[in-house]
């Protein structure tokens, strides 16, 4: 069973790492639409997949946040990825299965997965 003592150990380890944490301004932001439309379309597993994938690859510079409805409900779940100094990329009709490739190709290697973007779906 999970105990609070375990959480204390995690805390102490996190404290050691706190000083070396990368500056948040340099962070890659993953913004998931979490309004009614996003949630109904499946945003929750997508969000959790991004966090899990970032944790698995130990990407300390990825921040996963939420936004409301941006008015394109038919394309939900929508995920926007903002890499500092680059243009925003919007992915539409996201699934947890698409997440690993986006993290690997886009966030790690800097090549957006064009076929998953909203631009390619609107053609």
């Amino acid at each position: 069973m999970k105990t609070l003592a375990e959480l204390q150990v995690i805390r102490d380890k996190a404290r050691e790492k706190l000083t070396v944490r990368e500056d948040n301004r340099e962070a890659v932001r993953v913004v998931v639409g979490m309004a009614t439309c996003g949630i109904a379309a499946g945003a929750r597993p997508v969000l959790n997949a991004f966090v899990d994938e970032a944790a698995k690859r130990k990407l300390g510079n990825v921040v996963v946040t939420q936004t409301g409805c941006i008015g394109m409900c038919q394309f939900e779940p929508i995920v926007e990825i903002l890499v500092p100094g680059k243009e925003k990329v919007t992915y539409a009709k996201m699934t947890p299965e698409k997440v690993a490739r986006i993290v690997a190709d886009h966030i790690v290697n800097g090549n957006p997965v064009m076929e998953y973007t909203i631009g390619s779906m609107m053609k």
Binding site: L4, I10, K13, A14, L18, A40, P45, V51, G68
Partner: protein, 189 residues
């Protein structure tokens, strides 16, 4: 929406928009009376009585980006189609309580679904707010209170990846213990 846990996630978003610092989510299953009650209570900005009367109208919203607001109407529909109802109490400046009742064994009652996923998503996205989650089945219950976790963690954020995986596994264990899949202790009411 297919799962009641998704409605919980959606309604809790309203509490977040209302600026709540504490959001209490309670899921009570009572096999004797055959009722399931989901309550979401927040200490956010609250609503006027006029707003309360309008919020379950799908064409009422405070948003300016679109003209529909489906969160509460859908939740009410889910409750009503399962032989239940939805009640809203709110005081301006104090907070809001949304309570939905369902007939537990009703054939049209949606399953609770991934409660763990909903609670972890909420904590993860709102590390500065507190959540009190309580799930009970008859006399047994499990509780997750981020205020208790915060006491242990000190200045370490709740959404630190290692902390989040602990929380996620903790909730999973609690839920499994409650449903009898894992041996272990649940609190007796």
């Amino acid at each position: 929406m297919r799962e009641l846990s998704l409605y919980i996630l959606d309604i809790a978003q309203n509490s977040i928009s209302a600026g709540a610092s504490l959001i209490e989510i309670s899921v009570e299953e009572n096999t004797q009376s055959d009722f399931l009650t989901i309550t979401i209570t927040d200490n956010g900005c609250g609503m006027s009585s006029e707003q309360i009367s309008l919020v379950t109208d799908p064409f009422y919203t405070t948003r300016t980006t679109r003209r529909v607001g489906l969160g509460l109407p859908l939740f009410r529909m889910a409750a009503e189609q399962a032989g239940g109802n939805l009640g809203i109490e709110s005081v301006l400046g104090k907070g809001t309580t949304v309570a939905a009742n369902f007939v537990l064994s009703h054939i049209d009652r949606a399953p609770l679904g991934d409660l763990q996923g909903t609670i972890t998503a909420l904590i993860r996205l709102n590390p500065d707010r507190d959540f009190l989650f309580r799930h009970s089945i008859d006399q047994r219950s499990v509780t997750v209170d981020t205020r208790v976790l915060r006491n242990v963690l000190g200045e370490i954020a709740l959404n630190t990846p290692e902390v989040m995986s602990w929380i996620s596994e903790y909730i999973d264990e609690q839920e499994k213990t409650l449903s009898g899949l894992l041996p272990g202790k649940t609190e007796l009411l």
